[in-house]
Subunit: 200 residues, 4 copies
Amino acid sequence: MTSNRLEAFSDGVLAIIITIMVLELVSPDQVTLESLIPIVPTIVSYFFSFIYIGIYWNNHHHLFQVTQKINGKILWSNLHLLFWLSLIPFSTTWIGENYMEAVPVALYGFILLMSAIAFYILQRTIIKSHKENFVLRKAVGTDSKGKLSIALYTFGLLISFLNTWAAIGIYIIVAIIWFIPDSRIEKNLDKTKKGVPPAK
Amino acid sequence: MTSNRLEAFSDGVLAIIITIMVLELVSPDQVTLESLIPIVPTIVSYFFSFIYIGIYWNNHHHLFQVTQKINGKILWSNLHLLFWLSLIPFSTTWIGENYMEAVPVALYGFILLMSAIAFYILQRTIIKSHKENFVLRKAVGTDSKGKLSIALYTFGLLISFLNTWAAIGIYIIVAIIWFIPDSRIEKNLDKTKKGVPPAK
Amino acid sequence: MTSNRLEAFSDGVLAIIITIMVLELVSPDQVTLESLIPIVPTIVSYFFSFIYIGIYWNNHHHLFQVTQKINGKILWSNLHLLFWLSLIPFSTTWIGENYMEAVPVALYGFILLMSAIAFYILQRTIIKSHKENFVLRKAVGTDSKGKLSIALYTFGLLISFLNTWAAIGIYIIVAIIWFIPDSRIEKNLDKTKKGVPPAK
Amino acid sequence: MTSNRLEAFSDGVLAIIITIMVLELVSPDQVTLESLIPIVPTIVSYFFSFIYIGIYWNNHHHLFQVTQKINGKILWSNLHLLFWLSLIPFSTTWIGENYMEAVPVALYGFILLMSAIAFYILQRTIIKSHKENFVLRKAVGTDSKGKLSIALYTFGLLISFLNTWAAIGIYIIVAIIWFIPDSRIEKNLDKTKKGVPPAK
């Protein structure tokens, strides 16, 4: 089984997730510049969710570029990731309307946390299904970036009950950490192609 | 005619079906943890429908991996399957809001039943369109799994008028039966590739 | 320019059109079997629109299978077709709620008519962009099927102001005419491949 | 990294953007021809947005046809473009309902302007990531068409506060300028293939 159709299906789901959020942007009843102000938080939350989905698409792309075979476990780990990501639009609408309230901010963090854990599981599952000298194993290493994200999301989700702005700040820090695509995989992949043994 | 474009189109439809269900998750008016409780059944029903669509995508993937040619009959059998699957989001919303009522539970079972029958027809149509030594024919055999699903869905749909929880339990049993991807096809395909004659 | 990406984009649009119609199926407030009766016309109209889109996907598939090159004119003729097809969900909802009223039935016929004309234009544009011995030219011939559809839709749309059932009957006749995929192209394509000169 | 998956993902997002606008077309409560009149502006605005998205899909297609490699910067420039384009449905609904009001017309122009700037940035990013004799560099040249669009959108957006029809007229002029696919790239690409050095 090749990864082509799994990638195509995931691309479809991610494209829909990233786009349907905009359906929640309801055009204002009035036609003044002021009437746009109430939807600014919704647009801002849409903007951030767009970036989060973009980061996942990016990393998903990198992950399956090196994946050589697909089995049932990888397939379901992938669907598990897509499930949590598919809840982002719902949570985005809620946080957009209530960005100063603890529960919506905590729920947003919870869904980001579960997505991060799902991505971690997917990565582990792919590594386990491949041989020892698999390029991803070397590239990911201890995956400190993935573990740090999980820790930060947990921290942000808890702190949202004390201060929502602090929680949102922490979520944004994770986005910045991941904004740059995972160059570790790309570098190792390039080395392998050139016949140079991948870095340990 | 190759199966590439049929698979791409089906992937698109399945990706949309699996994702638009989330549009029915309306963010609560209040911002307490308690305000999330009323939407828990909707999320749970979404979760199960997600798994059902995932199983169909999985089996669809396996089916067309071995399909060598496409004709008009296969094409319409495939659209017939997609039609019934496309009704799952509607039924999911209804059962999510009324999981203790007989009619929504029965309707959910009915749509799952029709989807199972449509998949069975699609499989038969593909087998009939191929030659005698076609790998799928050997792999599927008497298709006891498919027939069992149809029997269980019929039973669940009828029993929902007596006890909705029993009906839901039966639907979940079918999901568990199918959760593991159809290893019969994969094994036979692998054998064929390796030059070993497929099992009878 | 190859037709791959044009086909992928069209597949995406058609997959969305065929699926979003189901979003209009609103789950009933009550939970009796009777409460499903008011949505039966909507489901029936959804069923027919599903078949119409299926036919167009089918014929679109056949058309681009033989298309060897894409230019700007073909691209815009294709988008023109997608535009009219994208109005089918809107019209389907309206006719589903008012299947005994002249204007919704006429509008449905009008959109089917414009789609048929757009498909005819697309076919002509593709033929004009290819050389004389192009397989599609021979296969399509005088395209009596296409011209008949346009005549029937015009007739149905006009008759809907007298009798909506007669108009709906005519629309269904066109669907039956097209239900079988365009075997003319397939046969000619097969012949060409086998070195046999295509039928005149 | 090849551009295949980036193109597939972008196709998915563009297909959704171009199609979901139709969800805003609410079927009228009444069934007279007159009842369709209030939704005519919405259909007209949908028609124009359809053309704008079509133009972007077209130019995007041309752009990535010549792009030989993808990196993180190109990926995020592409997502940046998709973000602005994804706001077109929201803006289309608003302008459709209020086409004689300054703010919705200005907002529509603003989103078109930001999309044009995003496309310009994407083009620059791709050129910078390739070598000196890259075909796109020669083809695009000083990109007077891109710069003119940005100037016209800015002008239209400002003038909308004086006269909405004048602003809409300017937006349509930009659409006409871009309606013809970017033949510069196509011509240069053809020349390069034929071994003729591309025009300076």
